[in-house]
C-alpha cells in the first residue's frame, strides 16, 4: 500500500471517530464536544465516558474483524472466508451466552467478554485437535461449518432454556451485536488480545503471499505451511474472540473489509491485513454513527445494521468470485 492510500484510510478512520463523538441524543456543537473531550466541561461525562469508548469499541471491533478476515482469506485462498467460517465467532458468542445464562455477568463486568475470549481459545484448541494445521483449505472450511452449526444449536438450546425474559433479552442483545455502554475497562480488557492477534497474523503475512500459488508450490518456494497456518489461525482466533467480547456477534465486516482493501495493495494477501483493519474499523464506526442518526424509536442494533449492509455485499462478492487456475 502506498503512503497516500495509508494516509487516506487513517484520515477516514479519524473523521469517523471524530464524527461519532459529535453524535448522540445530547445536542453538542463541535467546539462544545472538543472542550468536553479535552477540558473539564459539564458534557465531559457524555463525550469522554460514553461517546469516546463507544466510538473506539466500534473501531477496534471492526479493525479486528477486518484483519482476521484478511488473514483467513489469505490462508484459505477464498475471498468469502471470514472469522465466521472457522466457527470461532459462533463459539466465542456461545461462551458469552453461557456466561449470561448463568447470570455470571452480574458478578463483574469482565466475566462475559472473558468468557467469549476463553471460548475463542477453546475453539482454536479444538481446531488444532482436529488437525487444523494439516487440513486442506476445503476441509478446514467444512470443519468450521460444522463447528458453527454446533455452536448455533447450543446457543438456541440456551435460549430455549432461558429462565426469564430478562435473560432472554440480554442474550438477544449480545447476539445482535452492539457497542452501546462500553467503557474504557472493556477496551483495556480486549485490546491486548487484539494486538497480539494482529502481530501473529503479520508474522504469517509472507507465507500468506506465497500461498497464493497453492500449498505445494508455496512449500516448494520455501514457505513453512504448518507455521503459517498456525500463526494465521491463532491470530485470527485472538482477533475474533476479542472482537466478539467487545461488540458481540457482528458478521460480514471480515468479508467486506478485505475485499475493499485488495485493490489498494495489488491483491497481495500478505499485504491486505493492515488496510483491511483500517477499512473494517472505519466501516463499523460509520455504521454505528448511522444507526444513531436513523429516526427509529428503538436504536437499530449494530450487528443488524452490519448484516443489512454486509450481507448483500457478501452475495455480490460471492456471485462475482471466479477461481483462476490453468
Amino acid at each position: 500500500m502506498n503512503t497516500r492510500s495509508t494516509l487516506a484510510l487513517v484520515a477516514i478512520s479519524a473523521i469517523a471517530v471524530a464524527s461519532s463523538l459529535l453524535t448522540g441524543p445530547a445536542p453538542l456543537s463541535a467546539p462544545e464536544a472538543l472542550a468536553a473531550l479535552f477540558g473539564d466541561a459539564p458534557a465531559s461525562i457524555i463525550v469522554r465516558d460514553i461517546r469516546l469508548p463507544r466510538a473506539l469499541a466500534a473501531w477496534l471491533a471492526g479493525a479486528a474483524l477486518g484483519a482476521a478476515g484478511a488473514a483467513l482469506q489469505g490462508l484459505l485462498r477464498n475471498p468469502l472466508a471470514d472469522p465466521g467460517v472457522l466457527g470461532v465467532s459462533s463459539i466465542a458468542a456461545l461462551g458469552a451466552v453461557i456466561a449470561i445464562y448463568f447470570n455470571l455477568a452480574a458478578a463483574a463486568f469482565w466475566v462475559t467478554p472473558l468468557a467469549a475470549i476463553i471460548a475463542a481459545f477453546g475453539a482454536t484448541a479444538l481446531l488444532y485437535a482436529l488437525g487444523a494445521g494439516h487440513l486442506s483449505a476445503t476441509r478446514l472450511i467444512l470443519v468450521g461449518v460444522g463447528l458453527s452449526s454446533l455452536a448455533g444449536a447450543a446457543i438456541a438450546l440456551v435460549m430455549n432454556l432461558a429462565p426469564n425474559p430478562f435473560i432472554l433479552s440480554d442474550l438477544v442483545n449480545w447476539l445482535f451485536g452492539a457497542v452501546t455502554n462500553r467503557s474504557f475497562a472493556d477496551l483495556a480488557l480486549t485490546a491486548p488480545f487484539m494486538a497480539l492477534g494482529l502481530a501473529l497474523t503479520l508474522i504469517a503475512a509472507p507465507g500468506l503471499t506465497a500461498l497464493s500459488l497453492g500449498e505445494d508450490t508455496a512449500a516448494s518456494v520455501g514457505a513453512d505451511i504448518v507455521r503459517t497456518r498456525t500463526l494465521a489461525i491463532g491470530g485470527a482466533a485472538l482477533l475474533t474472540g476479542a472482537a466478539v467480547a467487545l461488540a458481540g456477534a457482528i458478521g460480514f465486516v471480515g468479508v467486506v473489509a478485505p475485499h475493499l482493501a485488495r485493490p489498494l495493495i495489488g491483491h497481495d494477501p500478505g499485504r491486505a491485513i493492515i488496510p483491511a483493519a483500517l477499512i473494517g474499523g472505519a466501516m463499523l464506526t460509520i455504521a454505528d454513527l448511522v444507526i444513531r442518526l436513523l429516526p427509529f424509536d428503538q436504536e437499530l442494533k449494530l450487528g443488524v445494521a452490519a448484516a443489512l449492509i454486509g450481507a448483500p455485499a457478501f452475495i455480490l462478492i460471492a456471485a462475482r468470485t471466479e477461481r483462476i487456475s490453468s
Partner: protein
Amino acid sequence: MIDVSVEAVTVRRNGVTLIDAVSFKAHGGEFIGLVGPNGAGKTTLLRAMAGLDESAEGDIRIGGASVRWLAARDRARRIAYLAQAREVAWAITADAVVALGRFAYGAPSRLSSDSRIAVDRALAATGAHEFRERTMPTLSGGEQARIHLARALAAETPILLADEPTAALDPKHQRAIMSALRMKADAGAIVIAALHDLRAAQRYCTRVIAMNAGRVVADDTPERALTSSLVERVFDMPAGDH
C-alpha cells in the same frame, strides 16, 4: 557439479503403493524426461523429490545431503518445483508470481536487487517480459504457463522438477518451454520433467526414465529407452503412433 541420488523411494497411500523402490542417480547437465501412462507414479516421484511428501520412504540426496532434513528455505534454494496444478488464488500480477520464486531469499514485499535481476533473467528466458505487469486472469493459457515456468526458473536452483510443463499448450509454446528447460540443463542444472509427448522427450531430453505402475521400467538415452517394444508394452499402443 550437482548430483542427485534417489535411493529406494517408496510412497504408499491408504495401503496402495504409488511408487515402489524407485532408484536412480542424476548429474548436472542432464535433462531427464520422465514418461509413462497416467497413474505410473510420475507426479508422486516428483513431489517426493521436491520434499513435499513427508510419508515418502527411502532417501533422496542432493550433493550428499538428505532432502528430508533440509529446512524449507534451504531446500527451496536447491530445488525448484513446477506443479501440475498452476493455481493462482488472487488477481496478482505476473511479475508478483515470478517474484515468489525468490521467496527463499527474502520477504516477497522487499525484493533484493539480486532477486530483481533473477526475476528479469527468468522473464527474459521465457519471453514473458512484455506482459509482466498484467494480472494473471488476463493472460492466455500459454502466457500463464510461461509465467509459472519463469517463477520456477527465477529461483536459479541447481535442480528443477517440472510436472507436465507443456500440458495444454500449442506446439509453438511447447517448443519454447522445452527449449528453455534444455537451456537450463545445458547451463549445468539437473532438469527432470514429467512428459506425455514422447517426440518432445526424444528431441529435447538427454535421458529418459520410463515408469509404469510405480516402477522404473527403462532408464537410458532417449533413443535406447523409447524402443517400439517399450512403447507398446508401457503405453499399450502400437509403436509408431507416438
